[in-house]
Symmetry: C3
Subunit: 342 residues, 3 copies
């Protein structure tokens, strides 16, 4: 595509040669002819100057800093780069087909434009939407609903009754709808608590490899529209995760947790059950939230979780502990001294 065409995608202003052809995106350091890179901030001006990229995406007003080059000016270079990347490197498209090795129930409803790969299994009364790709080894149970334009990577498993919206991406091995972890203790051991609810994944959600979202005991576990989960995230039964929430890798969410829209959660965070994270909360990696806790807007850190500035103050105090002990000893000695004198 030409620089001009790319600039149109991001409503950018071209300065330089509008007809330069661009093949690929690249980072500043490794970019070469035919590639486009972006300059996120002023610190990178030197690197940008030395970059061999055929076009640079820069912040509005920065074109003047690159007099001899072709640039696209935009408000948000990183976002423009992402959009241009999506245009230059569209996801793999598959010819619509049902692979002869796929095992599709007679009552399943597969869109004509869908791709059903090798060894895929589709259960009774399951719906697969238009232009959706089910890669090799995907297993859909009964009464599953998969929206349009989804990509289910190899070996994804959707248990019976699970429903996912449009434009959802599930990476390899994602498991939706396994039984929640609930038992009732009795004299002889544990009786399984019924897990007959379901999982609902809304539009434009992306879930990383090997993440698991358990079905609700009763009712549903929900992941809201536009939410993104990293690899190996565990979402327990009956959780309600809002829209545009971001959750980094290996975070574990116990049962009945509510995370409101736009929360940002780091990696390896652990949530006790029935916690609520309010919209506007940012939780640092490795934090631990006690059961029932309400996490208000702001930045949170630590085990158990506390506001970041309080956490920092506490750490500062901790670091002064050796000094405090010294002072304590000194005062003790001085008091002894005084006692002798009087």
């Amino acid at each position: 595509m030409t620089v001009h065409e790319l600039a149109e995608i991001v409503s950018g202003r071209v300065v330089g040669d509008r007809e330069t052809r661009i093949e690929r995106i690249a980072d500043l350091d490794n970019a070469d002819e035919g590639e486009i890179a972006y300059v996120e901030n002023e610190k990178l001006l030197d690197a940008a100057a030395e970059s061999k990229a055929s076009c640079l995406i820069v912040r509005d007003g920065f074109a003047a800093k690159f007099p001899d080059r072709t640039v696209i000016e935009v408000a948000n270079p990183k976002l423009a780069f992402a959009l241009i990347g999506a245009a230059l490197h569209p996801p793999l498209s598959r010819e619509p087909t049902i692979h002869p090795t796929a095992v599709v129930a007679e009552t399943a409803d597969i869109a004509l434009t869908a791709y059903v790969g090798p060894n895929v299994c589709v259960g009774e009364y399951t719906h697969v939407g238009a232009y959706t790709r089910l890669e090799a080894g995907v297993v859909l149970g009964m009464n599953v609903s998969v929206g349009n334009d989804c990509v289910l990577h190899p070996n994804v498993v959707l248990y019976d009754g699970v429903s996912i919206g449009k434009g959802v991406i599930l990476h390899a091995g994602v498991c939706l709808g396994a039984d929640g972890f609930g038992y009732v203790r009795h004299d002889l051991g544990y009786q399984k608590f019924p897990q007959i609810g379901t999982v609902v994944i809304e539009d434009e959600v992306e879930i990383g490899a090997h993440s698991c979202v358990d079905r609700a005991a009763l009712g549903r576990t929900r992941i809201g529209r536009g939410t993104k989960l990293d690899n190996m995230v565990h979402v327990g039964h009956n959780c309600d995760i809002g829209e545009r929430v971001v959750i980094a890798a290996q975070t574990g969410i116990s049962g009945s947790v509510v995370i409101e829209d736009d929360a940002v959660i780091g990696g390896q965070v652990g949530f006790g059950d029935h916690t609520r994270v309010q919209s506007g909360a940012i939780i640092g990696s490795k934090a631990g939230i006690l059961p029932g806790k309400i996490v208000r807007p702001g930045v949170w850190w630590g085990i158990p979780v506390q506001p970041l500035d309080q956490y920092k103050r506490m750490n500062a105090h901790l670091n002064r502990l050796p000094q405090m002990r010294e002072e304590l000893k000194r005062l003790e000695a001085e008091i002894e001294e005084i006692k002798k004198k009087i």
Copy 2:
């Protein structure tokens, strides 16, 4: 089923209309006609009064609080609800079959009543018990033994020689018998330590999605009868997990750990190797146990793990740190004052 029939399952006493028909379980708030809910404690009496459930399961002696309704009185309403749920919503039953796409070794021994789903692989000399379900994509190696009445959800993998008992449920992607993590360092790198032992899973165990139990280096890794593991739990080589142990999601157990019967382990806990958890111990989520540690009965918390009350006292002390510093400064000033005076 009628209320009368359900009451018989849990040895409960019906007050009200014994012939009311019940189709489903539900929670108090969402229950509707034809549904049964339970009232766990007195706090829920108001919710129960407003519930539209056709029948309520209540504690012995509570029927009088619901004069116009049909109730079942039992000693433990939650347990009764779970048992009634199991009766109303039995697990999916599959017609006994070996799916034509399954790849079953000639020497494998599959019970006539077993279900072997699409794309399942069963290795040489492997045994699959009566009424056991192997869902799509399950892979059983050689010399594997699967007991009666088991459910192996899609894409479960059992390496060669692994043995599981009766009534075991393995959720999607569970992996049993992968090599333990053992190497010997030498001048040029790491030599793999032999991992030629096995994994033994006893009766009535349930293991959550994507959990992994590694084979022993020598000997066996064991999960005892009635033990329940949540999603993404890691059990290292040569561990011995007792009976009726509960382990929440994402907990990691290093090699040669012993967990005795009836221990309760939270989520994201980490065990150093050769630790021993005694029967009666309860370990809070995110705790860390140092290698070789013996965890005695009681409630434990923190990194490294300590008794909960000690942990709480420590936290209280920590929270008083700023105040201690203030006091220290004040004392210092007073001493200066005194020194001036004398």
Copy 3:
């Protein structure tokens, strides 16, 4: 094999009957006739004396302690045991074949000596090396390269373009090349940042069950030669893991982390992005490393990570907190006393 033959493998010195036949390795306690065990240190001399093993591997100079037995003397008994174990228990060898249920693209290049198991999928232009085993359900995308002598256990998934070297072992469910976790926030939600790089795994790497290594956004994510990852390890996009690195289970590594050769990382460790671990660093389990941190050689511990001795000192201070409070109160009282007196 005879004791003599085994001794040759490890350049050991036989004392006793060179022709004793050995069938299996075993540990000291459980060893029986026809089995060989090793004596790691002097603490085990008693156990060794009572062992029924037909041969013992002992440290140089220790043969005299076992006058009536057949022993092999070596510099490093554990290493010798591992090597002898590998000789006595070679990995399963499979007849070269492409199973009739495998789905192999016409342009794929499969070595004649490779084993392609049931339901394996191999994409266009993908290369599978000599003597490599692809177990049941493995999915290789397009343009994948798998070296010679690799073992890919069931349900391993390699996304398009991933490359792995020689002698690599990937346990069940390993996922290489899923998209890194990168988004750009905009007014309406998150725009996916392009993930068009790749993953390169070098020779002799072993990766535990269900571990995930994400592809680079641009460029490549690398795991260096001889490195060993345990189960459920997460490696983010653009990481560069060196040679002979050891990483225990459930550790999570954010994007763009560099881990230099020979580092040793415990389990459940969490790395912020852009951290660098220098060669010679050892990081204890459950540690947390803040983004951008450089971890120098030495032993590190805690959240956030600090040198082990500093961590221990801090813990000692913490444990003295109650005592400090007592002292503070006592001093306060004494000062009051003094003030009254003067």
